[in-house]
């Protein structure tokens, strides 16, 4: 039966195997789509459709629940350019962005460096304690800090008076020049420990041999920090900066709870200004246009993050 060179069974098997492979591939497609479908459907309904719909709706004028929309072209976008509150909100996002990067990442890197190199005991204790505020909701942090800043019962004014100083007369949250910094302080209280923990994870992967070698060269800890720790954990620090920046673009809860964007819109950020226009003064068309602007900014930062995390 066999020709002696090629086993008969293998010859006979060729077409059958091909069929089985094709059938197998079809089953694989079927399984894959069954597996992917739920995520894709839920995501399409609650994210993709609303995003597309927001873009559409930004060309109309309407109230939040109005069934009738009035097409206005680019009018909402033109309004944005002339709206000083929008620019103020954008600037406030900028203040939070720069302030958060300086305080949270700056402070987080210093704390992480100290924790990873400098101490022998208490590391877990400090890390746990510094991370704990992340577990509180931003709303809880906001309510707490609103009372801390309160001119009547607030502990901050009590401390300042105890030092014989005079607290700001309009209150911390009532003074348009102070309010953004008061908000920033509350946000930093919650998130500096978070950034520290991210950076710490990166610094702990620095090989100990590097420090041993530098000790032989007689380097001190400050030199170690600048010549070893910082360069080696550069990628983690960049990731932390990007996470912090994206958080600043999306900021909403802390501002809403502390000030609702007040006094007189002075602490409005893009997020709260969208909410204000759509849900408070019922200008949903204008709010949609602002939402599109936010979307563009956020995608810009998202692309930046994708680029950098790919390198990591």
């Amino acid at each position: 039966m066999s020709n002696g060179l090629i086993p008969q069974s293998l010859l006979l098997n060729q077409p059958a195997r091909k069929k089985r492979v094709l059938a197998g591939r079809w089953y694989e497609y079927r399984d894959a789509f069954i597996l992917v479908a739920p995520a894709l459907i839920i995501f399409s309904i609650f994210v993709i459709y609303p995003v597309i719909n927001t873009i559409q709706l930004s060309f109309y004028e309407y109230g939040l629940t109005d069934p009738n929309l009035e097409f206005v072209g680019f009018q909402n976008y033109e309004q944005i350019f002339q709206d000083s509150v929008f620019w103020r909100a954008l600037r406030n996002n900028g203040i939070i962005l720069v302030g958060s990067v300086l305080v949270q990442v700056g402070g987080g890197v210093i704390l992480a460096a100290v924790l990873s190199r400098g101490i022998r005991w208490g590391k877990t204790f400090f890390r746990t304690l510094h991370f704990a505020p992340v577990m509180m909701s931003t709303v809880a942090v906001g309510v707490l800090w609103q009372l801390i800043y309160d001119p009547g019962v607030g502990i901050l004014n009590a401390i300042i008076k105890a030092f014989g100083l005079r607290p700001p007369s309009q209150g911390w949250l009532g003074d348009p020049n102070l309010v953004m910094f008061a908000i920033l302080a509350a946000a930093c209280w919650q998130y500096t420990g978070y950034v520290m923990t991210i950076v710490l994870a990166g610094m702990e992967s620095v090989p100990g041999e590097l420090y041993e070698a530098s000790a032989l060269d007689g380097a001190n800890e400050v030199q170690n920090f600048f010549y070893i720790t910082l360069p080696v954990s550069r990628n983690v620090i960049i990731a932390a900066i990007l996470i912090t920046m994206i958080g600043a673009v999306k900021v909403f809860d802390i501002v809403y709870v502390l000030t609702r964007g007040g006094p007189a819109n002075s602490s409005q950020v893009i997020g709260t200004y969208i909410y204000y226009n759509a849900f408070t003064v019922n200008q949903a068309g204008y709010a949609s246009a602002i939402a599109v602007v936010l979307l563009v900014i956020a995608i810009g930062f998202g692309a930046l993050q994708l680029r950098f995390t790919r390198q990591i």
Binding site: F43, P50, A132, S137, V143, I270, I274
Partner: protein, 276 residues
């Protein structure tokens, strides 16, 4: 620790001073919160720094009966159902993306991942209009739907990274033993990926337990409110009853803090380890 700066006592001292200073910054507001939540209103003004003379547990009873119990229950239902759905749905999708070959695999994956960059505030208006016309405002599904959707991108990303590294030899062995895809997933892949999935679950639990924006537009009915939303209700109502308001904030913060202290390694790995 390969080496510490023990040689240099001055630097060590400085290190502890720095860490302690920041610890005080963290502890002081929290301590003030707990002390004040146990005080009488008048004590807040007369003795702002001291511990309560006589703990006023009534403030906690007030907060509890004024709605915290109901808000806790809502948060528990909404968070647990959402997290369960996120993990199941994301793990299924991530497994397919990592392990199976099918048309449009890459574009579909990118479509899901791009959602990571989309701020929820860009979707609130259509979300509200849709939920309103579907009569889903003030319902659990109305808030769980968006929660699951916004949890998917990051979860798929993490689980995809896990499944890609998953040794295919184990799967091949299972196939040789005669398992089909489904048996293999349930008997082999699922048990082995529990750590990755619990990491995703922890991350989403913390995020959703504290979520505010979607809850704010979806749940206006007091009986449906979650913990963060309920706190803003108290904030509006108790403008002169600060001890009870702070008791509410304390009560609202306890559950996650407690779980965090018990499972802190897992929590820190889940919430802060993803940049590695």
């Amino acid at each position: 620790m390969k080496k510490t700066i023990s040689k240099d006592g001055f630097a060590t001292g400085l290190t502890y001073i720095l860490l302690s200073a920041y610890s005080i910054v963290i502890i002081l507001p929290a301590l003030w919160m707990v002390f004040s939540s146990l005080k009488k209103m008048l004590e807040l003004f007369t003795a702002p720094f001291s511990p309560p003379v006589e703990p006023q547990w009534i403030n906690f009873a007030n907060a509890w009966s004024a709605g915290i119990s109901r808000y806790l229950f809502n948060s528990l239902i909404i968070t647990s159902v959402s997290v369960l759905l996120i993990v199941v749905v994301s793990a299924m999708a991530a497994y397919a993306f990592a392990r199976l070959r099918f048309p449009f695999r890459v574009p579909l994956y990118l479509l899901l991942i791009v959602g990571f960059a989309i701020p929820v505030h860009t979707t609130l208006i259509p979300l509200y209009r849709t939920l309103n016309s579907a009569n889903l405002l003030n319902t659990y599904p109305g808030v769980i739907g968006p929660y699951v959707a916004f949890g998917i991108p990051f979860s798929v990303l993490l689980l995809y990274a896990f499944f890609v590294q998953f040794p295919s030899e184990i799967e091949d062995a299972a196939r040789i033993d005669g398992c089909d895809t489904w048996q293999m997933v349930i008997r082999i892949v699922l048990p082995l990926s529990l750590p990755a999935m619990s990491s995703v679950a922890i991350f989403q639990t913390v995020f959703l337990w504290n979520e505010f924006s979607v809850a704010l537009i979806t749940l206006s009915d007091d009986a449906m409110r979650t913990i963060p939303l309920g706190l803003t209700t108290f904030q509006g109502q108790w403008t002169t009853n600060w001890p009870s308001l702070l008791a509410a904030v304390t009560l609202a913060s306890i559950p996650l803090l407690l779980i965090f202290i018990i499972l802190q390694r897992q929590f820190i790995n889940s919430l802060a380890g993803f940049s590695k």
